[in-house]
């Protein structure tokens, strides 16, 4: 007996009725919460305990070019605010790309996914510039407690953003090859969930690190 050809659906539903890839990613996100909680609490615990500068919001004595000097506050809030806004908008872009993928609109998928990847690249570039700038202002990884906790926390987050950019970049290549039909939109949904998590973590890190004085 012959059956009509059924569409190939890339969903692996479990007894819960939810795709198992989605459950796996949410479990990963849950464990990542604990990672970031540890790093954020370390930053908070050691905040204001540095013995030498540079410091985030106030002038201090610091070692620069081999001699002790008066150093200015190190943070550049406008630049980081721009990076934060770009990351927030990238979350909007990726849900629009997902909407396009689910509705079978390849043009919409490619446009919004490209914008998401560009935003991710901008954020990573902003962080590389910031780290480089701070290093030249005398803040190394082991200069003081602020440097150690700041670079660890934001670097860990930046690594996650980089992984997200690579992940979304591979999906973008697949989208341009026409390999993300609506039945496989779940693959983009999983990557988008990860991307939103990276965004959510930054929503906590930005005020905690940059705005709390």
């Amino acid at each position: 007996m012959s059956h009509p050809a059924a569409p190939v659906i890339d969903h692996h539903y479990t007894t819960t009725g939810i795709d198992n890839k989605k459950i796996a990613l949410w479990s990963l996100i849950g464990s990542e919460c604990l990672f970031f909680a540890s790093l954020i609490s370390m930053y908070l615990v050691y905040r204001g305990r540095s013995l030498v500068g540079p410091l985030p919001h106030s002038e201090s004595r610091c070692m620069l070019h081999g001699q002790m000097q008066q150093c200015e506050p190190i943070f550049e809030i406008p630049l980081v605010t721009l990076g934060t806004a770009v990351l927030l908008f990238s979350s909007f872009f990726v849900v629009m790309a997902l909407y396009g993928a689910q509705k079978g609109k390849p043009g919409m998928l490619k446009l919004w996914l490209s914008l998401t990847v560009l935003c991710g690249l901008f954020f990573v570039g902003m962080q590389v510039y910031e780290f480089n700038h701070f290093f030249h202002k005398g803040l190394g990884y082991s200069t003081n407690l602020f440097g150690s906790t700041f670079y660890t926390l934001t670097g860990f987050h930046g690594t996650h953003v980089t992984v997200g950019v690579i992940w979304l970049g591979t999906l973008l290549i697949r989208a341009f090859r026409g390999k993300i039909p609506p039945e496989k939109a779940i693959n983009l949904e999983i990557a988008a969930l990860y991307w939103h998590f990276v965004d959510v973590v930054w929503i906590v890190i930005f005020p905690t690190v940059y705005l709390l004085r």
């Binding site: 849950g30 909680a37 615990v45 305990r49 908008f89 959510v200 930005f206 705005l211």
Partner: protein, 123 residues
């Protein structure tokens, strides 16, 4: 919830219009956070500094909490997806909050109570 209704609920996601509204709210909240920060350090004028300074932390916590909830509920689709996924996120968050509170108490509070305040230089 049976398999079919759960799978259906998993796919009834918000519309682009709602996504855009949430993006605008997120942007506005971020702008307000930065304005509050500037007000607290006197960037909006010395007259406003005493107004902002005592409430900076509270406002930052409230605004970042609101942004966190908006992204999790609508962009991460926790509002539409099953309770199982919400539990996979919320309970680790509760543990994470406990970890932060415990580490701060252990490493900050008891150090001071024990008579060993750490030397401080500034912020």
């Amino acid at each position: 919830m049976d398999t079919h209704s759960s799978a259906h609920a998993e796919h009834s996601h918000p519309t682009p219009g709602l996504y855009l509204k949430i993006a605008v709210v997120l942007f506005v909240l971020t702008a307000l956070e930065v304005l509050t920060f500037e007000g607290g350090r006197g960037g909006l004028g010395p007259a406003l500094q005493p107004v902002f300074e005592p409430i900076v932390v509270l406002i930052l916590v409230v605004f970042s909490g609101a942004k966190f909830i908006l992204v999790a509920m609508f962009y991460m689709h926790l509002k539409q997806d099953g309770a199982l996924l919400s539990n996979l996120f919320i309970w680790p968050l509760v543990i994470a909050a406990g970890v932060i509170a415990a580490l701060i108490v252990l490493l900050s509070y008891w150090r001071v109570v024990g008579g060993m305040p750490a030397p401080e230089l500034g912020s």
